[in-house]
Symmetry: D2
């Protein structure tokens, strides 16, 4: 599976091929991400135009909050699908997925 | 001055025309923002390709941290330039800029 | 069950009586919380003694991180026990617990 | 000056003796810190009583937000007093205090 963004640690479970937890809301996530990409481009344009620092900071806070909202949505779906399936599967898969979810939550809380 | 991103509250001081606090590091900020824009586009591509939720979350945490780093850089320069000038100017301008900086810091801490 | 701290929204499931998810690590959590209580008392003493603002802020950052660490530990155990049981129970209980966990994670990420 | 909490890095400027930036609001800060200390003690009591994990997490989020509010208040006063004095003093003192304030802000944003 091609991946232009280098994952920073976790990898999909071996043989991962199922639709991800966010399959049903994929379009909504893509729309939000396109909007955030536009926000970041807008921030660069503000810097390019020497706009006032505080206004640039306001936009960065807004983009950061928007990214967090996408992350919280994905995480909610991950718990409700992938984690539920792993619990039903039981065994190592369950433990691995629980540890992985906790690590992802810790990264979000600390970022 | 055209501004494609709607400011969420603060506005530049009346007659703001001076180079912003980040004038000396503008190129570095633009490079970082271009990289973050690419990260967000990469995240959208991961979602488009149904990649594993946890890997998408890892990239969102990384992009969030990168945005925060830009914000902290801009804020540092803002304090060292705009705020210093305002303190030297004194009076209302000083008070206004101090309140504005505190509000921007609060937004960052809470985002 | 007496509760001197007013819960801010969620309540235990009706009939909640089982040991909580953190039963096995209760002592470790209590030790950490006692240490954090001491940190907060130390911060108050610094303010009482007119100590330097930046030093007070450093201690507040440390106490905040320590509280987050307790929260992440409790959450990890909650997912591994309470949520796993709810998934195994299935039905409304599963959905309720998933929504509740997501809401708790969102509060942590935003605090 | 006795300090029961070990400072994690910054130290008061040599010869620091002046009232801190928060002198005028000291009582309000002490009241808030006493309340937070009570919150942390309440969280420990909840754990002691095996209360439901999610309710404990809700209280930790509340205590974390309360600590952040104290920090933002102290920082606002620090900028308005200590930093303003340092700018007026100029020279090395100004640069040192600006770097120190930025570092404290970065710790808050990341905690």
């Amino acid at each position: 599976m091609a991946n232009d963004v280098t994952p920073l640690g976790d990898t999909a479970p071996p043989g991962y091929a199922a639709p991800p937890g966010y399959a049903a809301t994929k379009d909504a996530h893509l729309k939000r991400l396109a909007r955030i990409e536009g926000q970041v481009r807008g921030i660069a344009r503000m810097v390019e135009q020497d706009q006032y620092c505080i206004n640039v900071l306001t936009q960065i806070s807004a983009a950061t909050k928007a990214l967090q909202a996408v992350a919280l949505g994905l995480l909610d779906e991950h718990l409700g699908h992938c984690l539920v399936h792993a619990v039903e599967a039981g065994g190592q898969e369950k433990d691995r997925k629980l540890a992985e979810a906790s690590a992802a939550i810790a990264r979000l809380v600390r970022s």
